[in-house]
């Protein structure tokens, strides 16, 4: 519904809008008070099923026909021309011949859903997972595709889902940020940090990046650089004491200025973060079994395992939204592509990344379930688009981009496991049964968090903007 931006509808809005966003921390504490008092957060429209979201994003374009979307017809048509009329134009090539999955498919679990042998461990979780086989994108370009899956728009500048959720629900943790992103250790995904940006929402709602590699400071500027040996905990305390004295005096002379109060609180929060962030990222106290489960000691699998384990720990501590990247920006292929973008050697690249995702994602689902957290934690597996059922290249060893079909999955957090929604055509080229864009996935995720996606909006340059634009419907079939 269109709302007049002049009308301040909530106390949070009032605080955020005052002279352009005064007093985040005042708002922050208000959120806590409200959520503690009323047992619900700010934008809750109905009883939530999920308290937190962990989204695993596989940039580059994961092939649906080699992973989740079983297409026996593709085996029958192997080697026959995919596009006999020669009318189709793919992103980087003309369609080659039909190329069946590089891995065998099997049915798993009680649900009997199919999964390829690329994911032997994840297959054992299949009864907890719900698949959307009929995902589509509006673009077959990586940058815009990633933007769309993360923000609902193919152009940069829009808030990511994590930012929207933070805007809607606020922060639950007292000493950790609400929205955390764990980028791949190799670098940024296509389109860069805009993928988890706050867009036109105030910067309060942007993600905090936590670096997951061992030995790295988990948060930018959490501590002074090592080159400043004259600074330590004691000097920090003295510095802070004088600072807060000056800030309080300054505030006393300017009574009623909420932003000045917020600044004082922000330094207190920063001090808390200095304790909580190293603590939450310290995996030493995790058991040997856990280390093994997440494959932490494996040089290839380990980094992603760390991201997944960290996500669990963050959610345990009350972090609302965690986004994990499984892959970085594309470069021209050398040994292995740094993400799922498998144009010339899918067996090599999906093989490499498949092993990584299989271990980390399955460990996360197991671990969450074992700790009783899966019920309240929505796990989403996403990519920006799928790949073509036709082979690419002379030896058809790769696959080109496909915006017409891909698979996304969800687990936990109120999702009905062992179910599926929608279908692609017999070759996996195009979604034909209940084709759906990211809007429905986003609407469903927000719904599980207790948010009506049509009501979570923010005025920007003439439009009351939403994560789902003017689209989106909750996929009820996948909700328990």
């Amino acid at each position: 519904m269109w709302t007049n931006p002049n009308v301040v509808s909530t106390r949070r809005d009032a605080l955020v809008s005052m002279a352009g966003g005064f007093g985040w921390l005042a708002a922050q504490s208000l959120m806590h008070n409200e959520s503690h008092a009323a047992g619900s957060s700010l934008a809750i429209h109905h009883e939530p099923k999920a308290k937190a979201v962990i989204q695993i994003f596989c940039p580059g374009g994961m092939s649906q026909v080699d992973t989740f979307d079983y297409k026996p017809e593709l085996i029958k048509r192997a080697g026959t021309p995919f596009d006999p009329d020669g009318k189709l134009e793919f992103f980087a090539s003309k369609p080659g011949k039909c190329r069946p999955s590089f891995w065998n498919f099997r049915q798993h679990g009680e649900s009997g859903l199919w999964m390829s042998d690329l994911f032997p461990k994840l297959a054992t979780c299949i009864d907890d997972m719900a698949f959307i086989y009929s995902m589509q994108s509006k673009t077959a370009l990586h940058g815009p595709g990633c933007f769309m899956m993360n923000t609902g728009f193919t152009t940069p500048g829009f808030p990511s889902m994590g930012s929207w959720v933070t805007y809607g629900l606020g922060c639950e943790s007292d000493n950790l940020p609400a929205f955390v992103v764990l980028p791949d250790s190799r670098g940024l995904p296509p389109g860069g940090i805009i993928n988890w940006g706050a867009g036109f929402l105030p910067a309060v709602y942007q993600a905090t990046t936590i670096h997951t590699q061992e030995g790295q400071s988990p948060i930018e500027d959490l501590f002074p650089p090592k080159s400043f040996s004259s600074i330590d905990r004691h000097t920090d305390q003295s510095d802070l004491a004088l600072l807060q004295m000056l800030n309080r005096r300054h505030l006393e002379q300017r009574p009623g200025n909420t932003e000045l109060e917020a600044r004082i609180a922000a330094y207190e929060m920063a001090a808390k973060l200095q304790l909580s962030a190293p603590d939450v990222t310290n995996l030493d106290r995790e058991s040997a079994e856990t280390h093994l489960l997440y494959g932490l000691d494996d040089p290839e699998i380990g980094p992603f395992g760390r991201q997944c384990l960290l996500a669990r720990r963050l959610v345990e501590q009350g972090v609302r939204f965690v986004q994990i990247y499984c892959g970085a920006e594309n470069t021209t292929a050398e040994k292995v592509r740094p993400n799922w973008d498998s144009h010339e050697d899918l067996a090599r690249d999906h093989g490499y990344w498949g092993r990584i995702l299989d271990t980390g994602a399955s460990a996360l689902l197991y671990d969450l379930k074992a700790r009783g957290l899966l019920d309240q934690t929505l796990v989403i597996g996403a990519t920006e688009f799928g790949r073509q059922p036709a082979g690419q290249g002379g030896d058809a060893a790769g696959r080109d981009h496909n915006a017409g079909a891909f698979t996304a999955w969800m687990a936990g957090g109120g999702v009905r496991g062992g179910t599926s929604y929608g279908a692609t055509d017999e070759l996996g080229f195009k979604a034909v049964d209940s084709p759906t864009y990211c809007y429905d996935l986003h609407a469903t995720a927000l719904h599980l968090l207790g948010i009506d996606h049509t009501k979570l909006s923010y005025y920007h340059n003439g439009i009351q903007r939403r994560l789902t634009d003017v689209h989106g419907a909750v996929i009820k079939e996948l909700i328990s």
Partner: protein
């Protein structure tokens, strides 16, 4: 009404077949009603358009219901002409059993009289004139406030001299409020410095101003700051926010735009020179065609190209539909930027459908995109003339140098290099290494190719090069080898295939360029790469003439195999006038030295390679050092040596001149071509083009404003739009810019949404003041500095920002009342009973830090500073480093801005994402900001430099502390602050005090 009849609208569709429409029986009943029959267009359509069509139209059709035409409504049994009781429409729009009406879901219910009109209309037969389609009405129409002409307003009568104060104070009085007292001078100078130039005043500046007795001290200060070069460096940042300027493309590959900075400097200069605002806008939209000879006006069009560019989507991808989508998004970005920045209308909302709020139809949106349809973002010369002069000079010098080189070479060298001839040269080194000739056509082939298609063995092609007669793929047996029809005999059978070209150097993928111990690709050597199956015939007559050989010549070369296999697998052939001179089958280890005497009567020298009949793979024949020489070379005498020395000096002089040519200036802007046809894209989808439109602009519910026909040139289109925007009768342009200035000075505009003057935006808090300012801008011939001066010299601007402020003449109790009143009446300070406080923007925090430590590098203009390491890759990698050298201490406006990888420190401090048009920055307060200011290496290093400066400039501890407070806060230290500071200093050192001051609220906030 029977409740059981109340069906949800979605079910109505299934009942359609039950009812039959019989107009005849309806007509019979018509006479029964008294009065005039209902007029659909006048009475019914407005009701449906007002209440229903927003959700129920062809485009939206919620519940599968569309009200666009009567056919649609009838098929859904919403409407049963003549039978109101069966018409489901009436069930849902009125209250039943005390329940609120089911429809409309949004907005107010229909009035009883509106329902009555619908009832009567249906009863009368639901007449719906043919061709009438209902359209959603935008919420605002042509009568919207911002679209009205700028009113002639007289400032309210009062004793105030500045008209702004008269407007603001009289409005305060209307609400029972009074203006707050004037801020003290210390506060005022800090405020005006940061506002106008983005830097803090020096302690001397503060001392002088606070102590000044001149009653116009403040006005003089304002004039000085408006005239300073720092003014443009501060205010350009505001405009670049609106232009979403950056120095990289953004999107997936995010390549660099190393020439974008010229536009940034243009904006700085324009603000410093107080360029009339209408000219500023005209130049940015059409400067290149309005004043093509004025580089400043040409560079201005960098505005149109300032936003992001999807290189992969527009250029790289092979999919035409992806390219169309990326192009449509690009045009939308360009158009939205131009229209929201200049006239504050959100035209982008009409891309997929008519604007829901403002009177802008979808076709107007596409008429506007037609203005920009001929434009592409690209590097461009700032001056076509400069480029022409440069090109002419370049070619003059090059040809002069070529001439001298040839003379020199002939004097010095005794031979012609045939490889150089193959590279398009004169045989003395002017040919291009690596260049080749296409064996199928004789054309020059600058870069490598692979397998050759469409080969015709035996076809002879003339060469474009003057010293070469032609080329051919040999036929087996007899084959033509010259343009005169000479024929070679006995050439063997081969595959008939070819690879790459005949090259000056190795062919594509050649295994080796070494034959025996000599690498013929090394300096001092040359080679012709001739992959099987190919032949080339040189024109001996032309060669002799060019070199001045009169007598017997000597042709020498070392022939060998460039492929890997040692087994001989390719043949070479050398013929003179068709007669075989030398031939062998070669493998990796074979070389043949050839030396032929050629008498003056011979016309053609032919070199051939064939594949040996075992396939052509790797059959790369190298002709090493292929040279034609005079058998009896001239003796170089003393006179010749003198000539050589002179020519060499001449060559050196020309080369100097060539190197001193200044490259024409290039900027990142737009290049234009004749615009293609523009079509409305149905639902905004580039794959569903609709009707064609001609270039035009917004008509705000009035008559169509067309600029011209489809054939209109790009320049005419842009000039027309620039003229329309800057026409003094356009009420938006002046209002929008004075409101922006107000917003930037006060932190909030008279209209709180500076880029949205439509229904979705805010209404003006002081409409009369806004119109007076807009008119004043026109009266001052669009001088922005005039408006700046008016605003900042107003008492309104100079009020204190203290919430507990009081008037000097009021006693304490009144003051309390006033504060209470003000806060209850106007907590947001929309009426301006006090000044707003502000948090310094990210750039000003950084600049202020550098200014206070004395490290600020005041260098203006030119390419931006790069505080990152750059690594070339498919998507380049930008790795930020700590700015700790003078080049990186320039003002933040000169930062090289990377879209995908923002500068984290500034981003944390609310520096906006240049993907967005940012008319209004958001200000947040976060723990990450505290960490950044407290721990970031740049801040700590600067704290150290701050301490060093204090130690240098003040002797005693007390003096150092005093100076520190003066520099950071613009005031003296108080006694207890001094004691606390001293204690920290004594414990840990001065640097720690400096760190604290940079983190203080008093430093980052302006009262």
């Amino acid at each position: 009404m029977n409740p059981s009849k109340r069906l949800p609208l979605t079910c109505a569709f299934f009942l359609a077949a039950v009812f039959n429409f019989d107009p005849c029986c309806l007509l019979a009943e018509e006479g029964a009603e008294s009065g005039q029959p209902i007029d659909f267009v006048k009475q019914v359509a407005p009701i449906l358009e007002h209440h229903c069509i927003r959700c129920h139209s062809v485009d939206v059709s919620k519940g599968d219901v569309s009200f666009t035409t009567s056919v649609q409504m009838e098929s859904q049994s919403l409407l049963v002409p003549g039978d109101p009781d069966s018409s489901h429409l009436l069930d849902v729009v009125q209250s039943i059993d005390g329940q609120p009406p089911e429809m409309p879901k949004e907005g107010s219910p229909l009035s009883a009289s509106e329902v009555e009109v619908l009832y009567r209309w249906i009863k009368e037969g639901a007449d719906w004139p043919v061709g009438v389609e209902l359209r959603e009405r935008s919420k605002a129409d042509g009568s919207w406030w911002s679209l009205q002409p700028i009113a002639t307003v007289v400032p309210p009568e009062s004793s105030e001299s500045n008209p702004i104060d008269r407007f603001v104070f009289s409005k305060l009085a209307e609400h029972g409020l009074r203006p707050s007292r004037q801020a003290d001078r210390g506060t005022l100078i800090r405020r005006i410095y940061f506002d106008l130039i983005g830097l803090p005043p020096s302690p001397d500046d503060v001392r002088t101003f606070v102590g000044a007795t001149d009653e116009h001290a403040y006005e003089s200060l304002v004039d000085r700051l408006l005239a300073s070069k720092d003014f443009g460096q501060r205010w350009a940042r505001h405009w670049l926010d609106i232009a979403h300027y950056a120095d990289t493309h953004g999107f997936e590959r995010d390549q660099r735009r190393d020439n974008a900075w010229r536009y940034r400097d243009y904006v700085i200069r324009s603000f410093n020179h107080d360029k009339p605002y209408d000219q500023f806008i005209r130049e940015q939209i059409a400067g290149d065609v309005l004043s093509p000879d004025d580089p400043e006006a040409v560079i201005a069009t960098g505005f149109l190209a300032a936003g992001p560019f999807d290189f992969v989507g527009q250029v790289e991808t092979q999919s035409s539909s992806l390219r169309r989508a990326a192009r449509a998004a690009d045009l939308d970005d360009m158009l939205t930027q131009v229209m929201t920045s200049t006239i504050g209308m959100t035209v982008n909302c009409a891309r997929c459908h008519d604007h829901k709020l403002d009177p802008i139809t979808q076709s107007e949106y596409y008429e506007l995109t037609a203005i920009f349809a001929g434009l592409k973002r690209a590097d461009r010369d700032t001056s076509a003339t400069e480029r022409k002069v440069f090109d002419a000079e370049t070619s003059r010098l090059k040809s002069a140098m070529d001439g001298v080189s040839l003379k020199l070479a002939k004097m010095k060298a005794s031979h012609i290099d045939l490889a150089d001839v193959v590279g398009g040269g004169n045989g003395y080194g002017t040919g291009k290494k690596g260049h080749g000739i296409d064996v199928r056509s004789g054309k020059i082939q600058p870069s490598f190719v692979g397998d050759l298609e469409n080969i015709k063995a035996g076809e002879y092609s003339r060469s474009q090069l003057p010293l070469i007669d032609g080329v051919f793929v040999p036929a087996s047996g007899e084959t033509q080898i010259s343009s005169t029809g000479l024929v070679a005999h006995d050439l063997p059978k081969h595959s008939g295939k070819g690879w790459d070209g005949i090259r000056n150097g190795p062919v594509n993928s050649q295994f080796s360029t070494a034959l025996g111990s000599i690498d013929f690709a090394s300096p001092g050597h040359s080679m012709i790469g001739l992959h099987a199956n190919a032949g080339i015939t040189f024109d001996l007559g032309a060669l002799r003439k060019s070199a001045g050989f009169a007598d017997v010549c000597l042709f020498t070369t070392t022939v060998g195999y460039g492929g890997q296999p040692p087994t001989p697998s390719a043949d070479f052939w050398i013929l003179v006038d068709g007669e075989l001179q030398s031939h062998a089958k070669l493998g990796r280890n074979d070389t043949v030295s050839v030396a032929l005497e050629i008498t003056p009567d011979k016309q053609f020298l032919t070199l051939v390679s064939t594949d040996g009949g075992d396939g052509y793979s790797m059959d790369q024949i190298s002709y090493g050092d292929p040279r034609l020489a005079d058998k009896n070379p001239k003796v170089i005498d003393a006179a010749t040596i003198e000539q050589i020395v002179a020519l060499e000096q001449e060559l050196q002089r020309l080369d100097q001149e060539f190197k001193s040519l200044v490259q024409p200036a290039v900027f990142y802007g737009i290049v234009a071509e004749q615009p293609p046809e523009t079509k409305v894209l149905v639902r905004g989808n580039p794959e569903t083009p609709g009707e064609s439109v001609n270039p035009g602009t917004l008509r705000f519910g009035g008559a169509r404003v067309q600029f011209g026909p489809a054939e209109m040139s790009d320049s005419e289109r842009r000039i027309a739009l620039a003229n329309w925007i800057t026409d003094p009768s356009n009420p938006l342009t002046a209002r929008v810019i004075v409101n922006r200035l107000w917003h930037w000075h006060f932190g909030r505009g008279i209209v709180g949404t500076p880029s949205d003057f439509g229904f979705g935006g805010e209404r003006p808090s002081h409409p009369e003041l806004l119109d007076w300012l807009a008119a004043e801008l026109l009266r001052s011939k669009w001088s922005l500095k005039h408006i700046h001066r008016l605003i900042v010299t107003a008492k309104t601007y100079q009020m204190t920002s203290r919430i507990d402020a009081f008037q000097p003449d009021a006693d304490r109790s009144q003051q309390k009342d006033q504060t209470q009143d003000a806060r209850s009446i106007d907590v947001d300070n929309r009426l301006l009973w006090r000044m707003n406080t502000s948090r310094l923007p990210a750039e000003s925090i950084r600049d202020a830090v550098l200014s206070i430590t004395g490290k600020l590098n005041s260098q203006m203009d030119g390419p931006g500073y790069r505080d990152f390491d750059y690594e070339e890759a498919y998507a380049p990698i930008y790795t930020y480093k700590t700015a700790d050298e003078p080049e990186l201490w320039r003002r933040s406006i000169y930062r090289y801005i990377v879209r995908t990888t923002p500068q984290q420190f500034l981003l944390t401090l609310d520096c906006p994402d240049p993907a967005n048009l940012t008319p209004r920055r958001s200000v947040t307060t976060t723990a990450l900001q505290s960490l950044a200011l407290f721990n970031n290496e740049f801040m700590l290093l600067q704290s150290r430099y701050f301490a060093e400066r204090l130690e240098r400039e003040a002797a005693s501890q007390d003096a150092q502390i005093e100076l520190a407070f003066q520099l950071a806060f613009g005031r003296s230290v108080s006694a207890d602050e001094r004691e606390a500071a001293k204690s920290l200093m004594n414990q840990y050192g001065l640097m720690h005090l400096c760190r604290v001051l940079f983190n203080a609220s008093e430093f980052v906030n302006v009262d």
